[in-house]
């Protein structure tokens, strides 16, 4: 005999495949999110703490932000990081898009080898690329010292582009797979030049891939510590390298404040990028 409550319990039980509604999975998901976010939230909260030591909450202050903004070398490192990320993004998107179009459009001798070498920077361990860049810029192509800013950032930017543009190329190529090649032929039949077809037909189609690739290149560059650590000189410190040296000497909430600013910058940029991507995709869907 089934009582009413038993029947109700059965009705409210999750469907067979609604795994998200089962409590063991809910607990695991919540615990994972807590594991991922609690350290970051703690870091941000303690950037507002009056105590020098990051242990007990004493009171609210924004002094650490003022201090971080008045720290000349920290600010310089921050500006350097953003500049490198910006330059790296532009070069990587151009090179990555060209590489994607080359591999998508042409058949040529040695294509497999080129394709394989393009994937190498993605899989090679960071430390190996880092030491290779160190040796390269020390012995093969010494980057001139004392160049005016931002030219002195050239070595780091080159190193960043080398590992970023293959990622951009992969993303753009995935996007190109959905392109209808007949459109290109139609444009050419109607008398458009090679360049015009590329610019007016292919590039608009690649746009969401280009935005996603740009976002990826920007964060990869901003995030990188290991490769920069090996290519940075004394006056070309980037933000992660600066924070690293601050961690070595003394940890004050100043580091927390600077980190919070960087986290916010990344979150805002990611949000803007995703929004742009959604919008172009929505436009495409409408058209």
């Amino acid at each position: 005999m089934t009582t009413l409550s038993q029947r109700r319990a059965r009705r409210e039980r999750p469907g067979p495949l609604e795994y998200t509604k089962r409590w063991p999975l809910r607990v695991i998901v919540l615990a994972t999110l807590a594991f991922l976010y609690l350290p970051l939230i703690t870091l941000m909260v303690f950037s507002f703490n009056t105590s020098r030591r990051n242990v007990v909450w004493q009171g609210f202050t924004t002094d650490w932000y003022v201090k971080a903004f008045n720290n000349e070398s920290l600010l310089q490192a921050f500006v350097n990081s953003l500049t490198i990320a910006f330059l790296c993004t532009i070069i990587s998107v151009i090179l990555g898009a060209l590489a994607a179009v080359m591999l998508w459009r042409f058949r040529f001798p040695g294509k497999t080898a080129v394709e394989g070498s393009m994937a190498l920077p993605i899989v090679v361990p960071e430390i190996c690329l880092g030491v290779a860049m160190l040796v390269f810029f020390a012995r093969v192509l010494p980057w001139p010292m004392g160049l005016p800013w931002p030219l002195n950032l050239g070595a780091i930017t080159i190193a960043h582009v080398s590992f970023s543009f293959p990622f951009v190329s992969t993303v753009v190529r995935a996007r190109l797979a959905s392109f209808n090649r007949e459109l290109e032929e139609a444009a050419k039949d109607l008398g458009a030049s090679e360049w015009r077809t590329f610019w007016d037909v292919l590039v608009p189609h690649m746009q969401p891939g280009l935005i996603a690739g740009a976002l990826l290149a920007f964060t990869l560059s901003l995030d990188d510590f290991v490769i920069t650590f090996f290519t940075a000189g004394p006056d070309t410190i980037t933000f992660p390298v600066k924070v690293y040296s601050m961690l070595r000497f003394s940890v004050t909430p100043e580091v927390n404040a600077a980190s919070t600013v960087l986290i916010l910058v990344t979150v805002v940029l990611t949000a803007v990028g995703l929004q742009m991507q959604n919008r172009t995709e929505a436009d495409k869907a409408k058209a």
Partner: protein, 301 residues
């Protein structure tokens, strides 16, 4: 259809020369130089002769360094297993969530991935150290448990001893899992999301339990995703530099830390070059094994 390059030589040249030249000059050449150095010898403070010697590789095969290689493989392997154990249920929950919920969960998993690695590692230090939140929580639980025991008339627990969670191998594994978890969840999610759900329904209808359905239906179907998740987690964990450097103790060095020391403090570039090429070969072996497993599982189907 793909065009042959002969049909549009000018366009081909304009498109292909910049990326190929960049790759050659700023990736292949630096790698080749390091490779050449690994067969060289230090003959002065800054001069290195290319003598074609294998002594650097012989030295890298000494027990001391083999042990570090083996330890790095173990730490990276343990990290990968932990990521898989945590990541699989999370990916399952995301794949079966409502579309709205799915977008949010994916964003939440991705967001730390966009945050700077150094900052995330630093954030973890504040949580794990002796005066950190994990120990505070444990102390609170400990004193409450102790109070409860006196209440029921038992001996109270002794003084709370904070756990040493930092500067040891455990900390390195926790740190690596923390950093690499999104790498595992995303490929698992995309494999589970593409899976044919009617097969799961069939298995459940025919009387298999949820655990059995997951182990015998879902896991084999998602095998390619699991394999790529394992690879994508294992490779960066194997070559990790920052996590063992910041969270590890004196005995938790991994290969990357040894390589860094050869190029900075020890100033023995040829030996460092040999070590970094051995790390690279290990990485390639991992990729080859994954490709082999993938091909075999595809053939079985």
């Amino acid at each position: 259809m793909e065009q042959t390059w002969r049909q549009a030589k000018a366009a081909f040249a304009a498109i292909s020369i910049p990326p190929i030249a960049w790759l050659l000059l700023f990736f292949i050449v630096p790698m080749a130089v390091i490779w050449a150095y690994s067969f060289g010898e230090n003959t002065g403070p800054v001069t290195i002769d290319f003598t074609g010697t294998f002594s650097n590789y012989m030295r890298a095969a000494e027990p001391l360094y083999l042990e570090i290689f083996w330890k790095s493989v173990l730490v990276a392997g343990l990290t990968t297993i932990l990521c898989l154990l945590v990541g699989f249920p999370v990916a399952l929950a995301i794949a079966f969530a409502s579309p709205r919920m799915k977008a949010w969960l994916l964003l939440l998993i991705m967001l730390p991935f966009w945050t700077n690695l150094l900052i995330r590692t630093y954030a973890l230090i504040a949580v794990l150290r002796e005066q950190g939140y994990v120990n505070f929580t444990l102390e609170w639980l400990w004193s409450n448990a102790s109070g409860l025991m006196t209440l029921v008339g038992l001996q109270p627990l002794g003084e709370f001893e904070p756990l040493t969670l930092l500067y040891n191998n455990t900390a390195v594994v926790i740190g690596l899992v923390y950093v690499h978890l999104p790498f595992m969840v995303l490929p698992l999610y995309s494999a589970l999301d593409r899976m044919d759900r009617s097969l799961m329904e069939a298995s459940l209808d025919l009387g298999a339990g949820h655990m059995r359905t997951i182990m015998q239906v879902v896991v084999p179907l998602a095998a390619p995703g699991i394999a790529s998740g394992i690879l994508i987690t294992f490779i960066p964990a194997l070559g990790a530099y920052l996590t063992p450097d910041l969270l590890g103790g004196t005995d938790s060095q991994m290969i990357a830390n040894v390589i860094e020391r050869q190029f900075k403090r020890a100033n023995d570039w040829p030996f460092g070059a040999a070590l970094s090429f051995m790390l690279m070969y290990l990485t390639f072996i991992a990729i080859a094994v994954q490709a082999l497993v993938q091909r075999r599982s595809e053939r079985r189907r």
